[in-house]
Amino acid sequence: MAFLEVRNLSKSFPSPAGARHVLSGVALDVDQGEFVSIVGTMGSGKSTLLSLLAGLTSPDGGTVVLDGKPVTGVRDDAAFVFQNYSLLPWFSALENVRLAVQAAFPNETAAEQTRRATEALERVGLGNALDRKPRQLSGGMRQRVSLARAFATEPRVLFLDEPFGALDALTRDTLQQDLAELCAGRERPVTTVMITNSVEEAILLSDRIVPIVTGPPASLGASIPVELARPRTLAQLAHDEQATHARANVVAALTASMQRRNRSVSATATTALSTTEPVKEAL
């Protein structure tokens, strides 16, 4: 039995034109310590899926089982990194991280908690920016604080929602390496599910890549293993045969699902002109 088991998950949102089905029939297995990336285009329902896995929202149907227990809310051994940093602007970097530490380790003394938070920030190279407020930090530094906050709680599961999506390309590269090091440098393996729209990022960081089959409603395609030795570098990936193979597979899966959707959309449009029940026809 896998560490994280997702079965037949579905989610819809109410909209003026009736319920909008975002996800349906989503299935996923993630082993303990595995790093899995879910890759898809913008607006494909990736973030919704991650919120469901993390217990931030509840599904309409299907189950998420983590470590043998059904997910009903946010677990205390899980951490989350958002695309838009989600730091509290009235707190310094240290206070932002300490808030998470206090919630995760309520029985420790204040000094212990501060030490944990400081160490977490030092690990991402922000030891000299402890007292700075988020707005005094660059985008990359903010996301480092966010990573520090996530790792400071010593999570067993990590959910990353396009963690580097808001950063420029260069900052992105260095932070990807930082994340790889953070994941590698832990005594206890952390199971990670990352959402991204960058195939390159997924290859660099993951053990396995799962493409989104574009909807709506979206589901997940067959997973593509990334069997590359670590540590990996972007330069090395550019020429590696395995990496090229994985890249080709992911891109093929994504474009195939996009084309299928485009065809079905145009089919709906043409049948709408000729028949009285266009929707049934198209489906």
Binding site: A54, L56, V74, D76, A78, F80, S86, A100, A103, A104
Partner: protein, 253 residues
């Protein structure tokens, strides 16, 4: 040069207002001219802390009585309004329950609340506090409520993901996020409280700027009415500026 102009322009405006006042005093014989007002008022201004009798006191002393009363009424008002605003901001059920009452109570004039306060408390002092509190609390209630509603989803997500307790969420997220809105509410509330004080002092005849104004009207010393009016304006302006400065500091931090 620019600074000089910035200084001169308001002076020009004041000069023009004085000219209008002077013209009006020529047309209406009962209205004292600016010069006569100064002559009859300078005792109160030059000896601002003198106490010659129950209501015959220096203007600063009178303003001080009014300010103390306003401070107490205002603090009472926001002590009720702030938690109420938080509750209404968090719970849409409570909002639906109390919104109609609030909308009806809000436009009621202090002159209408005061007699009710006198009936309830028998004495003029608590009645005045009651009127100030009830009239001035609404901007704080509404701004605090709006502030809580305007908290970005990101911050709620942080609370959820970090599994913060209700209390921690309140003190570490809701309060800091709402603080700027709350302070805008406080500034507006204080402005209203200062409006109410004059009316309530006039009605109850308690010593203070408003009480002084009403008494001097009854004694036919019209110059002192103008003195009181100007004092009320200047003090109100100063209060607003002080709150504005506090608010700006808060936003900057």
């Amino acid at each position: 040069m620019k600074r000089l102009i910035n200084l001169l322009l308001p002076l020009c405006g004041i000069g023009m207002a004085l000219a209008v006042w002077w013209a009006a005093s020529v047309a209406v014989p009962d209205l004292p001219s600016p010069v006569r007002t100064w002559d009859e008022s300078k005792l109160y201004i030059l000896e601002p802390l003198a106490k010659r009798g129950e209501s015959d006191q220096g203007i600063l002393l009178l303003a001080y009585y009014s300010l103390m009363r306003v401070a107490r009424g205002f603090l009472l008002g926001i002590a009720i309004a702030t938690p109420l605003g938080f509750l209404l901001g968090v719970s849409s059920t409570l909002t639906k329950m109390f919104d109609p009452i609030m909308q009806v109570l809000r436009p009621i004039s202090p002159l209408a609340w005061l007699p009710l306060g006198l009936v309830l408390f028998q004495k003029s002092e608590p009645a005045a506090l009651f009127a100030i509190a009830v009239c001035s609390m609404w901007p704080t209630v509404i701004n605090t409520m709006m502030g809580v509603r305007a908290i970005p989803q990101d911050y709620w997500n942080v609370a959820k993901v970090l599994r913060l307790s209700r209390m921690t969420t309140f003190t570490k997220i809701i309060v800091p996020a709402t603080l700027p809105y709350m302070f805008t509410g406080y500034r507006l509330s204080l402005g209203i409280a200062w409006l109410v004080i004059v009316a309530s002092e006039m009605l109850t005849g308690t010593p203070g700027v408003g009480g002084f104004l009403w008494q001097e009207y009854n004694s036919l010393v019209y110059a002192h009415i103008l003195l009181a009016i100007i004092t009320i304006g200047v003090v109100g302006f100063a209060l607003d500026r002080l709150m504005g400065m506090a608010e700006a500091r808060l936003r900057a931090s």
